[in-house]
Amino acid sequence: MITRRGLFEVGAGAVLTRSALPYLGAAAFAQARPRLSPLLPEGTRSEAIFDALPGKTPLIKLSYRPPNYETPVEYFRSIITPNDAFFVRYHLTDIPEVDAASWKLKVGGDGANNTVEIGLDDLRRLPAYEVVAVCQCSGNRRGLFQPHVPGVEWGYGAMGCARWKGARLKDVLDRVGVKKEAVEIVFDGADGPVVEKTPDFLKSLPVGKALEETTLVAYEMNGAPLPHWNGFPVRLVVAGWTGTYWVKHLTSIEVATKPFDGFWMKSAYRIPVGKFPVVARFISQETATNTPITEMVVNSLITSPAEGASVKAGRPMTVSGVAWDGGYGIRVVEISTDGGRTWVGALLGEDAGRFAFRGWSYGFVPKTRGEHVIMARATNRIGQSQTTELILNAAGYHHNLIQSLTIVAT
């Protein structure tokens, strides 16, 4: 069912998978330097380059193996992120190429009445649903934390918004029946570690979130099959929650009657209790001090002009961007051009649903020559706004500090 893309020998009996390694032809892009935030660590700024994975457009390469590539900000000028520009994030480096025709998804577990194995055709026979939703890495903007914290030092682009299509997870689970005693649903994908002792990447969801109608077992992204690097042939879509739950190359779904205690739930992707204004909880996984990250916090991004752009004093210009949250929907985006003393509402764009990017724009005239600082602040429909002071946490999650962007008028 799963073949390792071009297994080849390296040295004394060691085997690596070619798919985990960068495309050799990508070297041509290595000269172009991406525009990066000055807030990123110095080492990140010197190491990050444009590079293209097979089937992808050049993205900002942060690490080759496992591949961690972020989307340049320019792509967020549209509320739908193209498949070939969608960010790539892996924890483990054995990333097999999955054959769609022989792909099987195992569904079962001690909290299920039955066990079934379904193929792509079975999945497609279930009622199809679509949701336009933002997939954002928990650590998006980690590199902007001050002081810096270790990890993949993402700038603004570890996110994207796509129209996802698939079966509801609820309908898939109905094939086996969920017992009353079930507490979590556990997911595994085809990707795995290269060392036996490295914990495999498995994630769980509380039953309630799993059964929501916007939680999908998705086989299409923006009207096309998922790109290999975004989870082909099937990935989980957990609208509103951070990307860590959106398991790629899905191979197994288990209904569990006990909290899942794998490394990626118990030790990783945790936030301190009570520090963030989130509503969604993951009670079966909570401890007295920390809890799994859940829904995304409200956030916005200025996509135009670019940081440091040169503009004409006295000439009207448009400031634009996107805003998003964990699924409550964006109520307002406000702009300040006087250092946060006064705020004026921006014009909101098309509403593609409460889980989608919401575009916004604002007309501005930089009257004087010199530097102007533009700030954007989104507020959602339950009254949550972006933070004015960074909420520090060891893993660098949930960065939603109000952005300040400097332009120069001449």
């Binding site: 799963i2 390792r4 390296v10 040295g11 004394a12 009996g13 060691a14 085997v15 690596l16 390694l21 960068p22 495309y23 050799l24 990508a26 070297a27 290595a30 660590p41 110095e42 080492g43 990140t44 010197s46 190491e47 990050a48 590079d51 390469k61 942060l62 690490s63 080759y64 193996r65 496992p66 480096t93 054995d94 097999p96 002081p147 810096h148 270790p150 990890g151 993949v152 030092e153 595994d188 994908g189 085809a190 990707d191 795995g192 570690p193 290269v194 060392v195 036996e196 002792k197 490295t198 914990p199 495999d200 191979t251 197994s252 490394f263 030790s267």
Partner: protein, 93 residues
């Protein structure tokens, strides 16, 4: 999913193999070979400069410990010490 065929993988013997990945050049200083052989077995070496220069000695030590204890990297004590010293000296705050 676990990759059953890779149990025997002798991590320490692998160097980065892809052309693009080979362009990563860590600072040539004592211990760099141990870093390349051990760290490079499981991840590309761009992780090192990417996480610099802001980690102090205790934080680099914690990173090396995490690789061994949480991720099961087969690194012996002597190498772990050399690796940590190299990271602190060349990529520390």
């Amino acid at each position: 999913m676990r990759c059953a065929i890779l149990h025997f993988l002798a991590c320490a013997s692998i160097a980065p193999v892809a052309a693009a990945e080979q362009t990563i050049e860590l600072k040539r200083a004592p211990g760099v070979e141990r870093v390349e052989a051990n760290c490079g077995a499981c991840h590309s070496l761009d992780y090192v400069p990417m996480n610099s220069p802001f980690l102090n000695a205790a934080s680099w030590q914690a990173e090396v410990n995490k690789m061994i204890n949480a991720f099961g990297a087969p690194i012996d004590e002597a190498d772990a010490k050399i690796i940590t010293e190299y990271l602190v000296k060349n990529y520390g705050e």
